[in-house]
């Protein structure tokens, strides 16, 4: 990753044109050619520096639902429960975190009603309580990471 890549990461986190030749248009801002920009974006994706390049959709406005949920799992049972939870296709992300509530996952479903069903399903399958923490209000989303 060089200085140009850093500029691209900082400058391309939003506002990519929706136009005939968007890469050519964006490339101009960075003093690059269209071809160079495409190659660099490709390389950053291949290296895993970027996880995606394109439109970021807002799940709730697509009619789907999202929630954050947590569980309190004893260390000895953690791997088994993680396996059960991860097997639910509605579980999008799952993180181990340092806290008494030590498993935190995001559920994404096609309908709001489905969230409750999946939570009940996880509780039945694991034998542990799920703490449902849907967002009540969003104050800011969209990290502008500077590198």
């Amino acid at each position: 990753m060089d200085a140009v890549d850093r500029q691209l990461i900082n400058g391309l986190q939003g506002g990519f044109p929706v136009s005939e030749r968007p890469y050519a248009e964006a490339a101009e801002r960075f003093g690059l050619t269209e071809d160079e920009l495409i190659r660099r974006v490709d390389a950053l994706l291949a290296q895993g520096v970027l996880t995606r390049f394109g439109p970021m959709y807002h799940a709730e406005r697509l009619g789907g639902a999202l929630t954050l949920a947590a569980m309190k799992i004893p260390a000895a049972d953690f791997e088994r429960v993680a396996g059960i939870v991860n097997a639910f296709p509605e579980v999008a992300h799952n993180y181990a975190r340092e806290h008494e509530l030590n498993m935190w996952f995001v559920l994404a479903t096609e309908t709001p009603e489905r969230i409750g069903e999946v939570i009940a399903g996880i509780e039945r399958a694991t034998g542990y309580k799920v703490y449902n923490m849907p967002k009540l209000e969003e104050f800011y989303v969209g990290l502008r990471l500077t590198v």
Binding site: V18, R21, Y23, D42, L45, H58, V85, L143, V147
Partner: protein, 175 residues
């Protein structure tokens, strides 16, 4: 219903799903993994979806205006960029002050996601969540201290939950 609950419902209404038709959905499915890296990416999508490129661009612009698309561009991987300490800071603040404080904390440039979420007493007294990113824990702790300073007496208790392991990570799947 109290005023606060009404406000939350009003907000939920604002989040109501946009009206999307079949062509929109096909465009969403075709682009959720990202844009093709070719000189005319929207033409490539159009060919895949079976509508004109103008139609694809018009619909994408409409979805941007409606907030169905938050933005178009690069999504960086924090870990790969050296931001390896990601702390979920959670705050017990007075319920009637959540919105005002959330806006203040959400406006900080080192906070990515900031949400009001329900408490689960007595296990979980926290209702304001702010994700803080740093290169190491010391950097995250310093930023958390900055938040605590801003909250002052409204900080009735807080915790920082670090992720120790990714157990699963998939993109959101639509359609």
């Amino acid at each position: 219903m109290n005023a606060h609950a009404a406000e939350i419902l009003a907000h939920a209404g604002f989040e109501a799903p946009a009206k999307l038709d079949d062509a929109d959905r096909r465009i969403i499915v075709a682009t959720q993994e990202g844009l093709p890296r070719v000189p005319r990416p929207y033409h490539a999508i159009a060919a895949q979806v079976g509508v004109s490129a103008d139609e694809v661009m018009t619909r994408l612009r409409r979805m941007l205006d409606a907030g169905v698309i938050r933005r178009v561009g690069a999504v960086p991987n924090h870990y790969a960029l050296g931001y390896q300490a990601n702390g979920m800071s959670v705050w017990d603040v007075p319920e009637e002050r959540v919105r005002e404080l959330g806006r203040k904390i959400g406006g900080l440039d080192f906070v990515s996601h900031c949400y009001h979420r329900p408490r689960h007493l007595p296990d979980w007294p926290y209702s304001l969540f702010a994700m803080v990113h740093g290169r190491d824990r010391a950097e995250v702790e310093a930023k958390v201290a900055q938040i605590a300073g801003l909250l002052g007496e409204d900080d009735r208790g807080h915790a920082v939950l670090y992720s120790t392991r990714i157990l699963k990570k998939t993109g959101l799947r639509i359609g």
